[in-house]
């Protein structure tokens, strides 16, 4: 029961982030393509897909399962699952024509760039917060040694 509740908390946290990010990305791309609104069914679909993604994400990164896989392996798995989910979503809402190879190619390039940009941003965020923590740790140790 305890592990289940931990899993639920993690999924809720990640789902919130993914859904918000999905809406922001959709809004930007739709605005570029000249769309002015979003159907309720698309919001539900995005909700369902981001929930599925959150579940997959927690399975890959949540350390409850697949803990032994390397970070590169986990990122590769996330890349593939994300790709499939976003392709389904973009096909469903009409942003990508899944019957056209050219459209899928454009989607793939766009998705790959976006994935690596987000990964780079997240990596840098954790690098920065990690450095800040370790600077504070060094300062703490120096203070204790001086006493």
């Amino acid at each position: 029961m305890k592990r289940f509740m931990e899993l639920v908390t993690q999924i809720k946290f990640v789902w919130g982030l993914f859904f918000t990010s999905g809406i922001i990305v959709y809004t930007i791309i739709a605005a570029i393509l000249g769309e002015g609104s979003m159907a309720f069914t698309d919001i539900w679909l995005l909700g369902a897909l981001t929930f599925f993604l959150s579940f997959v994400y927690v399975l890959i990164f949540g350390e409850m399962l697949l803990a032994s896989i390397s970070i590169k392996g986990k990122m590769a798995a996330l890349f593939v699952v994300n790709y499939a989910v976003f392709l389904v979503f973009c096909g469903r809402v009409g942003l990508t024509d899944v019957t056209s190879l050219q459209s899928i190619g454009t989607f793939t390039i766009g998705y790959t760039i976006l994935f690596f940009l987000i990964t780079f941003a997240v990596y840098n965020y954790y690098l920065f917060t990690g450095e800040e923590l370790n600077d504070k740790l060094t300062a703490y140790k120096q203070r204790r040694n001086m006493k």
Partner: protein, 145 residues
């Protein structure tokens, strides 16, 4: 110096009372020695009890209602519970990292945040531990973050 030892089952706690006219150098040394012994952590290994200096301890871990003391390369069992150790070492560099571990901050080599809100801890001896989300604010508070 007279030494009286009063052994009785009525005494619930071991107490040392020193009666003197004034505190001289020898007495100061004795008091320091007694206090120093009090700060050490008793650890059992192969049936023998060792008194371990807190600064030699990397972390404590509770497994199946037993508490273990980890130094650089050795593991001892102790009769003390985690909450007792937390109380005893509250003035030193130890902090509660999860429900089952207490870590010595001075033995942490590196801290790395995770996406799920936890912190990875790399100790000076290469061991890896985790600070659970619930206790991350504790270490951040200690480090003034």
């Amino acid at each position: 110096m007279k030494v009286n030892v009063d052994v009785s089952p009525e005494h619930e706690e071991t107490e040392i009372i020193i009666k003197c006219k004034h505190i001289d150098h020898e007495l100061q040394r004795l008091i320091a020695m007694l206090k120093h012994t009090e700060e050490k952590i008793p650890g059992i290994q192969n049936g023998a009890t060792h008194l371990i200096e807190p600064q030699d301890i990397y972390y404590f871990e509770s497994v199946d209602k037993k508490t273990f003391v980890y130094t650089e390369s050795q593991v001892f069992e102790t009769t003390l519970r985690l909450y007792e150790l937390e109380e005893k070492l509250s003035q030193q560099d130890f902090f509660r990292a999860s429900k089952s571990t207490i870590i010595n901050i001075s033995k942490i080599k590196r801290l790395s945040p995770r996406f799920n809100g936890r912190l990875d801890v790399l100790l000076e001896n290469g061991e890896k531990l985790v600070v659970s989300r619930q206790y991350v604010p504790v270490i951040k508070g200690i480090l003034d973050l």
